[in-house]
Subunit: 204 residues, 2 copies
Amino acid sequence: MDAVPAPDQTPVRRGRPGYDRDRMLEIAVQVFIEQGYDATSVASLAERLGLSKSALYHHFSSKEELLEVALDEALGGLEGVLADAGGRSARERLEHVLHGAVLVLVDKLAYVTLLLRVRGNSEVERAALERRRAFDRRVTALVRAAQDEGTVRSDIDPSVATRLLFGMVNSIVEWYRPSGGEGGADLARVVLAVALGGLADETG
Amino acid sequence: MDAVPAPDQTPVRRGRPGYDRDRMLEIAVQVFIEQGYDATSVASLAERLGLSKSALYHHFSSKEELLEVALDEALGGLEGVLADAGGRSARERLEHVLHGAVLVLVDKLAYVTLLLRVRGNSEVERAALERRRAFDRRVTALVRAAQDEGTVRSDIDPSVATRLLFGMVNSIVEWYRPSGGEGGADLARVVLAVALGGLADETG
């Protein structure tokens, strides 16, 4: 947490050795979440990173590029889960996607949090929203396919079902804090159990 | 939507007849949601309402009072649902609370949206967060009681179950738009069905 330059560092070259692109992105995303993306200036980002503005621009051409790379981390993770869900029954693919989405959310918590706050105020944000909508459409198609094969109840509109499922999944960013260990996998199992089987105890 | 004064109105007395407290609150909440509460000035509120600042202060002593009354609308609705869930089995009370919470959310969509964005930046916001937490604790106790009576599966931590349930319920503010008719009651039935029974079709 010593991103602010220590007093003994020269004010001219404040870049720290080993301060790589990934770490810069991680801190920038934290600042976007705390202050809001629109309200964050490049100057305040540079200050938080302990870098000059020109050192920051050496790695990222703009604040918008930081946002774009961060949103791509989150969206790429989610799309990857959909991509490797192929070749099984629709119900199994749906389970794989839900389970995988929770793991991506836990693994990339800050990036997904940022993605969920995007409101479409710029080209980058609108492109991210369009990718989110495309993801939702593919999950909706999966729910519909599972209804058609008779493994998911067909009395619920598939797009409402998808919204409720991902409402549950996405709400995890509001309260989940990594504590190491198996937290993510446990949580993914619980979400899957509630989403498919519900809370009711039918053995009682 | 003619909240901005028409050109033929005198600039001195812009208060419109019949512009009551409820309608002022409704418009103010809309502005808070669009611009963010912190970023909204009393001057911009007055302008949107087509009122002078002193006319606005005649009805509400401060911007914070508008927020307080709005949050109380949402919280009072939710607490009311808990209050009249008494006297049945824990499972039935839980179902009543979930169903009722969806109806409150749909009925008071803007107020609940505002409540869900509160981050605790002021005394009023912290008090609202504390009431939300108290509500969550009572729902968690209800889940635990239903587990004890054997009607809700006991392999899930009751506070995680509560968070997932209300994650699903609260996410409705992101996409639900009132279209008249039975929308809210239908949605409440779907949420209840998914929350208790899950999406799986066990008849197939």
